[in-house]
């Protein structure tokens, strides 16, 4: 299996490794096929998106219509109420769905780590939503959350609740959050499960001898040993949630009104519905920078707090 996890990405080795082949250009030949593709489909697009962000190009005006706009796009972004609405919605969406997914995933991971009847099947069931394609899942939830006849409201109706879900500007975002949590909890519990297998057993034995209770053991042993995993999951989910627009494009198209126009959907709209490629590229860059900062902050939070074996 893959021997190192992404959490423990090793630094590039600069020192000479003994025994490595000294033949100069053969190694480059091995890399060439992949490198050519990466340059063509990732690097060149990346450079162009950076350049595009400083133009006012709209596809409709053709290639002749490209002109340098300096920082205009970034100034416009700062003043764009649509952009700030999207930023706010993204913060709510990420800020609610990610912690909820991680906390529930942790609880589920701990529960699934015990001897249980049919444990393998249980794990598979919780994980299932994660591997099924967006459209099949989206269509299913769209019908389940139909305000009048959907199953969800039939059940909630018994408690006197019948939210309007995707038809309501108040409930559309919570509906997307419910779907995200349902989809991600199994994945989190799986990652936690594999981390729990590595938890230091001798510490638990020592704690048992000291007569520590369940909560004390969780607080002093389990949680510290799971902290790096938690940070990793937070980072992965923050990146994933702040980029997700497939479900929104499929189900709400950003609506009703702009109630679910998160930042990535706003960028998609700007680029592919209004063909404002320059502006969309600038939004993409700003968003990427924002997510990067958020990620680095989360990553740094683990420094010195993780339990080192």
């Amino acid at each position: 299996m893959v021997s190192a996890t992404v959490t423990a990405a090793p630094a590039v080795r600069t020192e000479k490794q003994p025994g490595i082949s000294p033949r100069g250009w053969i190694g480059f030949l091995f890399i060439a096929p992949n490198l050519l593709g990466v340059v063509a489909f990732t690097l060149i697009p990346l450079i162009s998106v950076i350049l595009l962000a400083f133009t006012d190009w709209n596809l409709v005006s053709g290639f002749g219509g490209i002109s340098f706009a300096g920082l205009d796009n970034f100034v416009a972004i700062a003043k764009d109420p649509g952009f700030w609405n999207a930023v706010g919605l993204t913060f709510v969406y990420v800020g609610v769905s990610v912690p909820l997914t991680v906390v529930l995933g942790l609880a589920l991971g701990i529960a699934l780590n015990r001897p249980l009847p049919g444990r393998a099947i249980l794990r598979a069931i919780f994980f299932l939503p994660y591997i099924v394609n967006t459209v099949a899942i989206g269509m299913t939830w769209l019908m389940l959350m139909n305000p009048k006849a959907g199953l969800v409201n039939q059940v909630l109706g018994a408690f006197g609740l019948e939210p309007g879900w995707f038809a309501s500007s108040h409930w559309a975002l919570p509906a997307l959050i419910v779907m995200a949590v349902w989809g991600g909890v199994g994945y989190c519990s799986l990652i936690y499960l594999s981390a729990l297998q590595d938890a230091p057993k001798q510490l638990y034995e020592a704690a048992d001898i000291d007569g520590a209770g369940m909560w004390a053991k969780f607080r002093t042993i389990t949680w510290p040993s799971l902290l790096p995993t938690t940070i990793f999951l937070l980072v992965m989910l923050i990146i994933g949630a702040s980029q997700g627009f497939g479900l929104i494009a499929l189900i709400t198209a950003g609506g009703p009104g702009d109630a679910t126009t998160t930042i990535s959907y706003y960028m998609y709209q700007t680029g592919f519905q209004f063909y404002r490629f320059g502006y969309a590229s600038a939004i993409g860059l700003v968003t990427f920078a924002g997510v990067l900062v958020l990620t680095l902050l989360t990553w740094r939070a683990q420094r010195g707090r993780a339990l080192h074996e």
Partner: protein, 276 residues
């Protein structure tokens, strides 16, 4: 001891199984609706067992006028080429980054790591323009080509090869093997488990990809399966429940098969890479 043990096991087991059934409910609903007439789909209270079973829904989505089989075939085509290409190029590049030296290797690898954190979405706009210029827009190649050359696959393969002993290569070199033979005969066979892990993940990514075709494919005759599922929604946004759910069931079968048959490898791949 065993007397106490069993009830305790069930004390945790029962609530978890109830939760699991709630998690499964959308899938059960999907299958149930796939076998219903449209007028029964929203019946109150919900009817779990279709009456009568509407097997015609499956017949329609498989062999009818609105068959999803062509889209299914395109998804298979895209997935096979993407997976084969990614495994080939990522393995060779990962191997060279780990086990060979050449000028600029480490700088190049840093560049790779840097591009790995770029969100795919950011690249959609320029890719859209390029593929239009290259005449690849609205063709399956727009989905296949970028997927064949991934930084992530290269990174995973490098991680694997770095951990392999260098002595094998030295011994083979003494025996007169060339670099390709050392890679092909010695290190590549060792990589079978990690290759299957990467292959499984690459297949699932490709199979479920909705965003890329949404932007880069426009004609229904080039739709892959995720886009094909949207065919059962009319212009007013009204969904044909029976057909949509039957097609959805068809679309999740391959991923489900991979998951059930290769569950252990699949989970190992997920937990070790931590990415989807």
């Amino acid at each position: 001891m065993s007397k106490l043990y069993l009830p305790k096991k069930w004390a945790w087991g029962i609530p978890l199984w109830i939760l699991a059934l709630a998690f499964l409910a959308p899938f059960a609903w999907m299958v149930s609706t796939a076998l219903k007439a449209d007028i029964d789909a929203y019946k109150i209270p919900m009817q779990w067992i279709p009456d009568p079973f509407q097997w015609d829904n499956f017949k329609t989505v498989l062999v009818g006028e609105t068959s999803v089989l062509p889209a299914f075939g395109r998804s298979v085509f895209v997935a096979v080429l993407r997976v084969a290409g990614e495994l080939l190029t990522a393995t060779m590049a990962g191997y060279a980054f780990a086990r060979m030296t050449f000028k600029g290797r480490d700088k190049l690898f840093l560049l790779y790591l840097a591009t790995a954190i770029i969100p795919a979405q950011l690249l959609l706009v320029p890719r859209f323009i390029y593929f239009q210029q290259l005449g690849l827009y609205d063709t399956l190649w727009a989905l296949i080509l970028p997927g064949m050359f991934t930084v992530l696959g290269t990174f995973l393969m490098r991680q694997f090869f770095v951990a392999q002993p260098a002595e094998f290569a030295e011994a083979a070199r003494m025996d007169g093997a060339n670099e390709w033979q050392i890679f092909r005969r010695i290190y590549l066979p060792l990589a079978t488990p990690v290759l299957s892990a990467l292959g499984i993940l690459a297949f699932v990514w490709s199979w479920n990809d909705y965003e890329t075709p949404l932007v880069l494919i426009s004609s229904p005759e080039h739709f892959t399966l995720p886009l094909g599922l949207t065919n059962f929604v009319d212009e007013q946004g009204a969904i044909a429940p029976g057909l949509t759910m039957a097609a959805s069931v068809v679309s999740i079968v391959p991923v489900l098969l991979v998951f059930v048959l290769l569950q252990r490898r699949f989970i190992a791949a997920m937990t070790h890479t931590g990415i989807k």
